[in-house]
Amino acid sequence: MAEQAAASGPLPIVPFLKIPSEGSPYLEGQRCRACGAVFLGERATCSKCGGRGTLEPAPLSGRGTLYVYSIVHRSFPGVEVPYVSCVVDLEGGGTVKGNLIGIDADPAKIAMGMPVETVFKVAPRKDAEGNEYLTYYFQPRS
């Protein structure tokens, strides 16, 4: 399901997208040992309980359910519309925002609560130096 990133392949679009040299890309959270809160990206202190040094890396599940969405028809120049912006609750903790693909951008087709999974693809944009980026999307899962 995930496209394999080459050794000198694309860069991660966000720091919490991990591209191991072997195996599939995944999203990595930080879980607080003291209170269980899950964050995206590295941090020193837990903003839920105030714990210091209590955060440890926690790979996030590639499976989850659609919490909410919006269909975006107006965006900034260069952003292709319409697309579905969504918030997904991952199995085992962690909430992530992304684009929902593989489904019509139609409220009649999209059901909040539906099962989804992460999928990784090279983003259709490069930076000023021509670097490619690996991004994640969500798609319906059966």
Binding site: L11, I13, V14, A37, F39, L40, S47, K48, Y67, V68, Y69, S70, I71, V72, H73, R74, S75, F76, V79, E80, V81, Y83, S85, C86, V87, D89, T95, V96, K97, G98, N99, P107, M112, G113, A123, R125, K126, D127, Y133, T135, Y136
Partner: protein, 381 residues
């Protein structure tokens, strides 16, 4: 502890004034509020200025450069869309603390057009807008509305009705940006921005300013309280940790906490409130805040809009000014403009849109990031 009063409060007609500077716009409202109070800048002991887009540009001092450099302390506040209300609250708190008898609060903003928010490349990498969802304000508030839809089955049509109502209200407000009726079909068929928010369900970016003169009880008795408005409560919260807050700003929790504090401080409940100006930055947001402010029961907001509870003439009129949706939303001015609106009703001076017999009113703003400010105001005379 003695109460704090509003002696003068005013706003300019919201619109687009590219020929004016931000301090010039702020100065206009400041002078209007001073005139309304029958006082001069020479009477003011401190100025609290709210402005967001020029937060580092000493806007408060530059307003004094326009209207009188009296040398008083000036504090410049920025707190996203709660900026104006935060400046007002600081002016209130300084009097509450006994430091001054008369303070001036000014909120002012000059806005561009177009979308606000959205993820750009932060220093390196590529812009994430449209790849990792959308961070535009219409989308953020659409998703917040969809959470309500998910829980209670709230429909696109119900969200759209908020806009129909608020645009209708603004036909009676000469200071609103727009005075046009927008029937339901027109709202629902307007350009879709971020489902379920169409263009007519997004607040209007306008330039504007509003100002208030605040006064201690002792001084108010001396100057006369005939048109004074009592500040019964001022509450400000930030966003406590909630599970999805990282990717989905939670405008509900900080509003609920601010409301609980404000009602407690004022010694009133939602049932005692005669009118509300709340933060309808998008039509979806207004629905959430009916429940957050306790104006109806949990899950009843859809019914409240369907049955006209929050329309003028309804049991709890909301945004009779036209709200941010139609009056306009100059970020730093909004929090004081809604204090102007409620005060005008409590004074019985709201003309065609007057809520009859209004004695207690509530104002609410929320700035993403987040800050929520609520004030409860009461008629004196």
């Amino acid at each position: 502890m003695s109460d704090v009063y509003i002696l003068g409060v005013e706003m300019i007609k919201f619109g687009r004034f590219p020929e004016k500077t931000v301090p010039q716009l702020g100065a206009q409202a400041a002078l209007m509020a001073l005139d309304d109070a029958g006082l001069t800048i020479g009477d003011m002991e401190a100025l609290y200025c709210g402005n967001l887009y020029q937060a580092s540009a000493m806007v408060g001092q530059r307003i004094l450069h326009e209207i009188g450099q009296t040398g008083i302390p000036v504090v410049n506040c920025a707190n996203a869309c709660a900026t104006g209300a935060t400046a007002f609250r600081e002016a209130w708190m300084a009097i509450k603390a006994g430091a001054y008898d008369l303070t001036l609060a000014v909120g002012v903003e000059q806005m561009g057009k177009g979308l606000i928010g959205g993820g750009g490349a932060r220093g390196k990498g590529i812009p994430t807008e449209g790849l990792l969802g959308s961070g535009t304000m219409p989308t953020v508030f659409a998703e917040a509305g969809m959470e309500h839809a998910r829980k209670y089955g709230t429909t696109f049509e119900q969200f759209a009705k908020v806009s129909v109502k608020n645009h209708h209200h603004s036909t009676m407000n000469p200071k609103a940006m727009y005075q046009i009726e927008t029937p339901l079909e027109m709202v629902m068929n307007a350009e879709m921005i971020s489902y379920p928010n169409t263009k007519l369900m997004c607040s209007v970016n306008v330039d504007g300013s509003a100002a208030a003169v605040l006064c201690s009880e002792k001084k108010a008795r001396e100057l006369g309280m005939k048109r004074a408005v009592r500040v019964k409560a001022s509450a400000l919260t930030s966003d406590p940790f909630t599970d999805r807050d990282l990717v989905m700003p939670d405008v509900n929790t900080c509003t609920r906490r601010a409301a609980a504090k404000a009602y407690e401080m004022a010694g009133v409940s939602a049932k005692d409130v005669d009118l509300v100006e709340l933060h309808d930055c998008f039509a979806t947001a207004e629905i959430l805040h009916y429940e957050n402010l306790g104006l109806c029961g949990e899950g009843e907001a859809g019914r409240a809009i369907d049955e006209g509870w929050t329309a003028i003439g309804g049991k709890i009129p909301v945004n009779v000014s036209g709200g941010l949706l139609s009056k306009g939303h100059p970020l730093g001015a909004t929090g004081i403009a809604n204090i102007y609106e409620v005060s005008t009703h409590l004074r019985g001076e709201a003309g065609k849109r007057q809520v009859p017999g209004a004695r207690i009113g509530l104002t609410h703003v929320i700035g993403l990031g987040s800050a929520c400010a609520i004030h409860v105001l009461e008629k004196v005379a």
